[in-house]
């Protein structure tokens, strides 16, 4: 008969010590600031300023829900979060953007149901003008180490490792940097995220990386410094020694020509964040 693992602990620290003893092979590291469980999930729901979500969600300090770890593990179901959202407002249009985001999660799950482990493969050719061979198979070490010298990228990397959470926009900038500026296969980045994200789910994670890479979309997602500075309210750029001459400088047209010189239509508009 198998041995049951403990359920009674004096406090969180006691539980963490026990887990480290039980799973010595699990890589050590920081413990999450986000607590698990239904009580914590309902607390996150109470704190969520849903009426500010639509207009502020792309900003790093915007009113995002922080519900994703709870939704990923089914602590909250999409249907009950949807119902809660609709109950907060008289007009459903006020929560339209948030419900659409729930739709994205549902959509990725349905695609996963259909494709299974094929979500680890390129679902279509890159639209960047490059073949898959152009992309390196492994993540450059300076990215997870947070030593690229780019304050924004290094900060996102450190935050991912420390907290297991990243704002959606930061995920997209980081993914675009990995794939398009460092020409690394999206799979390497997706695996890195899955290791660290509390809400790491193969469907949402991999398919979003493919969306950025352009292997599951019509064009690559990329950004410029102006975009990043705007939505981060300049907190990284102001202290970055490479401000004004970083790899993200320039118009979308110029960056597109630089990043994708062989693409069929480099003047194509860039993707906007979802």
């Amino acid at each position: 008969m198998s041995r049951d693992l403990r359920r009674d602990f004096t406090d969180r620290a006691d539980m963490i010590t026990y887990l480290q003893e039980q799973f010595p092979a699990v890589l050590p590291g920081p413990v999450p600031e986000t607590p698990g469980g239904r009580k914590a999930a309902l607390g996150a729901l109470r704190r969520f300023e849903i009426t500010r979500y639509g207009s502020s969600r792309n900003y790093l300090r915007g009113a995002v829900s922080r519900l994703s770890p709870y939704i990923r593990y089914g602590v909250l179901s999409l249907a009950e979060v949807r119902h809660w959202a609709l109950a907060q407002v008289d007009d459903p249009r006020m929560v339209e953007k948030f419900i659409q985001e729930l739709g994205w999660r549902d959509y990725w799950q349905r695609v996963y149901q259909q494709l299974g482990d094929a979500i680890w493969e390129d679902l279509a050719p890159y639209k960047t003008g490059f073949s898959p061979k152009h992309y390196a198979p492994n993540l450059p070490e300076d990215i997870p180490r947070g030593t690229t010298g780019l304050v924004c990228i290094d900060s996102f990397s450190a935050e991912l490792h420390r907290t297991g959470y990243l704002h959606n926009h930061a995920r997209m900038w980081l993914a675009a940097y990995v794939v398009h500026w460092r020409t690394t296969r999206w799979q390497a980045g997706a695996l890195w995220f899955l290791e660290h994200l509390l809400d790491g789910d193969p469907a949402s994670n991999n398919l979003s990386w493919q969306w950025v890479a352009s292997t599951y979309s019509q064009k690559p997602y990329f950004f410029n410094r102006e975009n990043l500075e705007r939505y981060t309210e300049g907190v990284y750029c102001r202290k970055c020694p490479r401000y004004g001459h970083c790899p993200f400088e320039g118009s979308y047209e110029r960056l597109s020509q630089k990043l994708f010189p062989h693409a069929e239509d480099p003047k194509k508009k860039h993707r906007k964040p979802r």
Partner: protein, 165 residues
């Protein structure tokens, strides 16, 4: 789901006290298994283990580790169970584990209420194609609002576009 004495297998896609099988059979034994092979394959970090463990401590589950299907079958046999109840998951690994359990015991997979309660064809070629059909269903609320304990958000029925009734 005509089981007399089932056990409940709780997996990582439904760690809620509102788990349909836990609600349907509140007195029957329930099990969570740490999937040792998956832990190694995904190189999951301590922070994720802690988060999941905190979820598990709010559920009436026995916590074990090992090879999931073997542990579920052993648990069911310990409790003279005539079947296993669980919830749906899109994960291919879930399908493999389910099939392995089914070689020994019947398994019933209960649905969790979906965001989009629509059984017709949904075109998954792109999000916009999917959303064109799914959107009106996504705005139809039928689940009770979660009880937020302080009663700040009573479950008032919202006005939904496209609601037939």
């Amino acid at each position: 789901m005509n089981f007399t004495n089932p056990v409940v297998w709780v997996h990582g896609d439904c760690l809620s006290p509102t788990h349909p099988a836990l609600l349907a059979y509140p007195t029957r034994p329930a099990l969570w298994v740490w999937d040792e092979a998956l832990l190694e394959e995904w190189q999951l970090r301590l922070k994720r283990l802690v988060f999941i463990y905190e979820c598990l401590l709010e559920l009436p589950v026995v916590i074990r580790r090992g090879e999931v299907a073997a542990e579920v079958i052993a648990f069911a046999q310990e409790h003279q169970a005539d079947g296993v109840l669980t919830t749906a998951s899109p994960s291919p690994r879930f399908q493999v584990i389910r099939s392995t359990i089914e070689s020994t015991l019947p398994v019933t997979v209960l649905p969790v209420e979906p965001l989009v309660a629509y059984d017709g064809f949904l075109d998954l070629k792109s999000f916009s194609r999917y959303w064109r059909v799914a959107e009106s269903y996504a705005f139809q609320a039928s689940t009770p609002t979660p009880d937020l304990t302080q009663g700040k958000h009573p479950p008032t029925p919202p006005t939904t576009p496209g609601s037939a009734d």
